[in-house]
Amino acid sequence: MPTIKDYSNNFENKWCPGCGNFGILQAMKKAFVAQDLSPHELLIISGIGQAGKTPHFLECNFMHTLHGRALAVASGAKFANHELNVVVNSGDGDCYGEGGNHFIHAIRRNLDLTLLVHNNQIYGLTKGQASPTTEEEMITSIQSHGVLNRPMRPLAVALSLGAGFVARGFSGQPEELSQLIQAGMDYKGFSLIDILQPCVSFNHLNTAAWYKERIVDVTSLEHDTQDRQAALQLAMEWDERIPTGILFQQDEDDFTTRNPWLQQGPMLHREYKPEKIKNYIDGLYE
């Protein structure tokens, strides 16, 4: 059995003290151990930003990629070897801004991977500019007269694209978040977990207390997690209360199931057969 210790390393962590990322990191480790996964059985692909640095603070296989492109790299890894356990760490700017197009189409593609979006409603690494989820009118160093653009509701976007697993967690509840991550990893297909987290340095509006006042566990509501329309309504809720937990879950054929070649096993393990190619080429000369 792997332990939390197996996932810990000595690499210097430069996140700000009190950062929501610590709760997410803790929840991830718990989830991996609960999944009975050893570090060498896990591949993390991450984007750029404070969230993108997450795999450096874990013992596992990883590729810390480019701003916005983590899902594309992760998709390619899954094409090559769909048996890989792939978790993607991204942020609100990385995934919903720079990587917005990949976010949309990764949902449609439905590869079996789990996307964790560290959503602190602000750009941290570049020091406090508005992200796609920053509240309207919030004043930042760049949006000095307040944010003029409407905030994105990522869970609603995912649901409208037919996502089969849509959840929201909170970094201040690592135990619940760990359960969500496990459920996402168990789900055969693309799973989105948007994770609310405070940014102690740059977001003084959406603080831990602000989130705590608003979040409500979806299991305490009369909600059918197979009802996409009802989930969409919950996904659009924000100012008064913010539903957390699994908003929607439904089994669907994933990319691998729909591809006849992949049904025979991962591409990585396909034998190289030059004689078969030679025969094909010979046929062109007949």
Binding site: F11, P39, H40, E41, L42, L43, I45, I48, K53, P55, H56, E59, C60, N61, F62, M63, H64, T65, L66, G68, R69, A72, V73, A74, S75, G76, A77, K78, F79, A80, N81, E83, L84, N85, N101, H102, I104, H105, R109, N259, W261, L262, Q264, M267, L268, R270, Y272, P274, K276, I277, K278, Y280, I281, L284, Y285, E286
Partner: protein, 566 residues
């Protein structure tokens, strides 16, 4: 007498001139002829003026010819636009309403014959049959090829098309025009009917490519379409990505996970891929990109050809890292170069860009040389598992700069990589000494990479004058040299196929001792810039063509003769 005939068929997009060309190529092949067909089309789905130009010969064909023997007008404007290309004894084939029949003009009612066959859409089959009848081909051979084309698809369609063939042939029987009396006996074909898109895709399969990811863009789409067809026979995932940013990063992900993967695009898409190319470079993940060039900037001329991306490719992506840039010379060479690209990307863990172009990708021809699978084509197995997996470092500093590459989750050893500068174990680092060590590690690969490069192709390199060219212009330049030599010019050629690292030594030896003219399909002489910068040589003159059309042999001959003779 040697046979060398050119047929030009002009029509609107959607009229099926592609089908006419395809049928003609197949019949030529069955009759043991050599041929080369180019497509010239506008960037539109319907209407406009497009043409297909087919050169038929009894010896290998290197380039398209300008002078036309048979001009087929399906759209009513082909004659006006191309009559000056018609040879003195050439023939025009058109519809009755277009031109009154006179000497050298034969009018055939394609529409009526197609309708008689049962479907107006078979106009193209009628036109193909009339062309073949004029060239002296037998109806039997033509029927056989059409029959094979529709075999197992739709019996009614096959019957209608066979009737269209019959109608086409009969229409000529009543005509006085005798046409060309070529020998059209069915023979053992002298090679395979291939285009660059197909040989590139075949090369990828031969190299064990298992993943293709792309975003549609002319003229690269044909390569991926061929890959999709091959994926019916060989295990492969071919995915249409949401954009070129995704495509390049998908193939990097596949390579990281241990599978060979390919993406193909054109200049605009390649511009987007430059970001991802940097990720592959710093994570030392093999990456193979085909850039099928078209004239730019921006959208430029989407369906036309050029060689304007050489310097862009050489410098694509920020900062410095080693890369290969390869530019195959012919349809057959695309197969070899594609296999080499995968082998080199894997061996040196660097990006490899293949520079092809619209001309090379879309030109169909009889390839007589056999496509041989290289012994180097097989994907490399990862190194043996380590006795102590905890000591594994993905970016271990080594003498040749190449570190053992393991695949994630395939052993106990952890594979860690990042697009940030990193320590040997793959963790990000801003350390000064480490930065220097890593830059040097990556660049240490260059001398060995240079050793891999094929020397330029030479033809009469002892001559007083040389034409210096690269990539897909090989056939045209070679033919121009032959014509110039027949005109008693003392001229040869030096043709580059491996562009970067530049094979300096062989080039320096030759170019510093001869007079030479630069031949490129761009406006500023990008190869010339490289030669000046790398080996300090200057040409005596330059011939540039940048109109988006295939390099014209006649024009090349004229300009070279003027420069040398003067």
């Amino acid at each position: 007498m040697a046979i060398d005939l050119t047929v030009k068929i002009g029509g609107e997009a959607g009229q099926g001139i592609q089908t006419v060309g395809d049928l003609l190529c197949r019949v030529c092949r069955q009759a043991g002829y050599f041929f080369l067909a180019i497509n010239d089309h506008e960037s539109r789905v319907r209407g406009g003026h497009n043409f297909l130009q087919l050169r038929i010969s009894d010896s290998p064909v290197l380039a398209p010819a300008r002078q036309v023997d048979l001009l087929v007008d399906l759209d009513g404007v082909t004659c006006e636009q191309h009559e000056d290309e018609l040879k003195d004894n050439g023939l025009i084939l058109c519809r009755p309403e277009q031109h009154p029949e006179r000497d050298g003009v034969l009018a055939v009612d394609f529409t009526q014959l197609a309708e008689k066959a049962g479907d107006k859409a078979t106009e193209n089959t009628v036109a193909a049959a009339v062309c073949l009848a004029l060239l002296g081909a037998g109806e039997k051979l033509c029927r056989k090829v059409v029959g094979e084309h529709f075999e197992g698809r739709d019996d009614d369609l096959k019957a209608i098309n066979l009737k269209a063939v019959e109608g086409g042939f009969n229409s000529i029987k009543e005509s006085d025009f005798k046409g060309w009396n070529l020998a059209w006996e069915e023979q053992q074909p002298k090679g395979a009917l291939l285009n660059g898109a197909k040989t590139l895709a075949l090369g990828a399969v031969a190299a064990g490519c298992r993943v293709g990811a792309f975003y549609p863009m002319s003229p690269a789409t044909g390569i991926m379409a061929q890959l999709v067809q091959l994926a019916e026979h060989f295990p492969m995932v071919v995915e249409q990505a949401e954009d070129e940013l995704a495509a390049v990063n998908m193939v990097t992900g596949s390579n990281f996970a241990g599978c060979r993967a390919l993406t193909a695009t054109s200049g605009g898409g390649f511009a987007l891929m430059t970001e991802g190319m940097g990720l592959a470079a710093i994570t030392e993940t093999p990456l193979v990109i085909i850039n099928a060039q078209r004239p730019g900037p921006a959208t430029g001329l989407p369906t036309r050809t050029g060689q304007g991306d050489l310097l862009f490719t050489l410098h694509a992506s920020q900062d410095e890292f080693p890369r290969f840039v390869l530019a195959p010379s012919t349809v057959a060479d695309c197969f070899d170069t594609m296999q080499r690209a995968f082998h080199l990307a894997d061996t040196y863990q660097v990006p490899v860009v293949l520079l092809v172009d619209h001309y090379l990708v879309s030109t169909s021809m009889l390839v007589s040389e056999k496509l041989e699978i290289s012994p180097d084509a097989a994907p490399k197995a990862p190194p043996e598992p380590l006795s102590d997996p905890a000591t594994y470092e993905r970016f271990a500093l080594t003498e040749n700069g190449i570190s053992p590459r393991l695949f994630p989750c395939q052993s106990q050893a952890l594979v860690k990589a990042t697009g940030n500068e990193h320590t040997p174990d793959g963790h990000l680092s801003e350390g000064r000494q480490n930065r220097n060590a890593m830059v040097e590690k990556r660049l240490t690969k260059l001398p060995a990479m240079k050793e891999e490069q094929r020397p330029p192709l030479l033809y009469h390199e002892e001559a007083e004058w040389l034409l210096v060219s690269w990539g897909s212009s090989y056939g045209m330049v070679r033919e121009a040299v032959e014509i110039l030599r027949q005109q008693e010019f003392d001229i040869g050629m030096v043709h580059l196929v491996d562009m970067w690292p530049l094979p300096q030594e062989p080039l320096q030896g030759i170019l510093s001792q001869h007079k030479w003219l630069l031949v490129e399909q761009n406006a500023t002489g990008q190869l010339g810039w490289m030669l000046r910068a790398e080996i300090g040589v200057e040409p005596q003159g330059s011939i540039f063509q940048y109109d988006g059309r295939p390099l014209e042999v006649e024009r090349l001959v004229k300009q070279a003769a003027a420069r040398i003779g003067g």
